[in-house]
């Protein structure tokens, strides 16, 4: 089992409030890694640190030889990100959004269009390239964001609550597409969610609550070690126990 991205002893504070407390996470290469946590667990803060939107206050994040502390731009070039809040420009077309992102990653217009056509075709949006993003539904917007995140051929794809706010069919479709990326392209994925039905027992999982990692490993193993039969039960026990003691 090879670790693609290592988060080592990362802590983060907003003033007096601790958002992440000595977090250690290793993302398994080529796998669909699930980051589970209720609202307020620290998932978005972790994403902000991984994407260098926030400065790492304590600890280190490494992707191979690249460290976000020492060489953040090299690391950013290897990450594809879908944020919880949509970051698409609603007034631009699908292709314009992709062109903008590709250019910011140093790709030529011709190369962007070639790659974008392939990704949009794969995601079933080949006929929507000239449509304004504003005219797309939530599921399609998410697909555009995934296509955009893949444009610069990242090694790791980070998705923060990518299925939040979507109907069940769209959620399942996006989850399936992302899993396909791991299987067919060997992409390492970090899928942050609070929806347990999106996670399989065979996935590497991390349970984060109140800024701390409470469990980590392959879902099935984590459940066995805790004498639980399902991730739902384990998640409920870990997070509700902390609620009581907190």
């Amino acid at each position: 089992m090879t670790i693609a991205l290592q988060i080592d002893s990362v802590s983060h504070q907003y003033g007096q409030r601790t958002a992440l407390d000595n977090v250690n996470i290793g993302l398994v290469e080529g796998q669909f890694n699930a980051l589970l946590g209720p609202n307020g667990a620290g998932k978005s803060t972790l994403f902000a640190l991984l994407t260098r939107l926030y400065r790492v206050q304590q600890g280190e994040i490494r992707l191979g030889d690249d460290s976000i502390n020492r060489n953040p731009r090299a690391l950013l070039a290897r990450l594809g990100v879908v944020f919880q809040q949509s970051t698409l420009d609603l007034d631009l077309t699908v292709m314009q959004n992709l062109e903008y992102h590709g250019a910011l990653h140093g790709l030529s217009t011709r190369e962007i269009r070639r790659r974008a056509a392939a990704e949009l075709e794969w995601l079933g949006l080949a006929d929507r390239t000239k449509d304004k993003v504003r005219s797309l539904n939530g599921g399609h917007r998410r697909r555009v964001e995934i296509a955009r995140a893949l444009l610069h051929r990242p090694d790791i794809l980070l998705l923060d609550e990518a299925s939040a706010g979507l109907d069940v069919a769209s959620r399942q479709a996006i989850n399936k597409a992302v899993r396909q990326l791991c299987e067919e392209r060997g992409l390492t994925v970090l899928w942050a969610t609070h929806l347990l039905e999106e996670i399989s027992l065979d996935d590497p999982v991390v349970i984060l609550h109140r800024g701390r990692v409470l469990a980590q490993g392959i879902g099935r193993d984590v459940c066995q070690q805790s004498d639980e039969t399902s991730l739902d039960a384990l998640f409920d026990r870990l997070t509700s126990a902390k609620e009581v003691t907190a």
Binding site: G40, L53, F83, A103
Partner: protein, 267 residues
């Protein structure tokens, strides 16, 4: 390879600004209507009240419309510079700022690209205004339209830098009204855009000095002289110096943690 990356990033930022500009036709129209209103309506009223004596760079008596034309060009640049501030705050609130911040290209380069993009869009509007003004009888020397170009670019960069600096300070879109009241109007009215400073001095000595210390005054004078193929060295030095100061401040003030705080703070 790295040069290519920087070039593509620059092209991307410029293209996006133009795409957004084309989408917002009303922005283009209002950018033209505002100075044209001054040129056609206000100038007609003020013409009789304000006699403009022979002052450099003019070699002869000029109409009031001719006098205010450079100031109105700078007015377009001023509003566009502040518009850039508004668009940065909008991008921040809508989340699209993250796309820019996630780029592996240095953020300082992205900001410079943004500044140049703002300047290019402003220039399109300024020359459209000058073309209409020409039809209205304001006819600077044809060669002046070319010699004014570097001056206009510098002024656009100055006002864009001020806009970007302000965008780092404005927390919410609603606060933009404050920019109108406390930045745009004072900068414009306390300058030589609408009246020569000797006229201001006749009315109020202290207001004259406020105008003298307003960088916008020197920006207007730089453009005014350049339109008549002359170089105002003092105006150039002050405009260039102020541009460097505000561009540096804009880059320093651009703190991503402040720009994205709204989302993760809940986590």
């Amino acid at each position: 390879m790295i040069l290519n990356m920087y070039l593509h990033a620059f092209t991307g930022v410029v293209k996006r600004e133009f795409w957004r500009f084309i989408q917002q036709r009303s922005r283009f129209l209002s950018a033209l209507v505002r100075p044209l209103l001054w040129l056609v309506v206000f100038a007609a009223g003020f013409r009789a009240a304000l006699g403009v004596a022979i002052i450099p760079p003019y070699a002869t008596y000029i109409t009031y419309e001719t006098y205010i034309a450079p100031g109105l060009c700078c007015m377009i640049l001023l509003f566009n510079g502040m518009q850039s501030s508004l668009s940065m705050v909008y991008d921040r609130e809508m989340g699209s700022m993250k796309v820019l911040l996630m780029s592996p290209v240095p953020r300082s380069w992205l900001l410079i690209s943004k500044l140049l993009a703002i300047a290019l869009i402003s220039l399109v509007q300024v020359y459209a205004f000058l073309a209409i003004a020409w039809l209205a009888g304001v006819e600077p020397p044809a060669l002046g339209l070319i010699t004014a170009l570097p001056a206009l670019i510098l002024v656009a960069l100055l006002l864009g830098s001020i806009g970007l600096f302000l965008s780092a300070r404005i927390r919410q879109l609603e606060n933009f009204a404050g920019v109108m009241n406390f930045v745009i109007f004072p900068m414009f009215f306390l300058s030589s855009a609408l009246y020569p400073l000797w006229k201001m001095r006749e009315s109020s000595e202290w207001l004259y000095w406020v105008c003298q210390y307003n960088p916008f005054t020197h920006a207007v004078e730089l453009v005014r002289f350049a339109l008549y193929q002359q170089l105002n060295l003092q105006a150039l030095a002050i405009t260039l110096g102020t541009t460097l100061v505000f561009a540096t401040l804009a880059v320093i003030s651009f703190n991503p943690e402040r720009t994205v705080r709204a989302a993760p703070a809940k986590a």
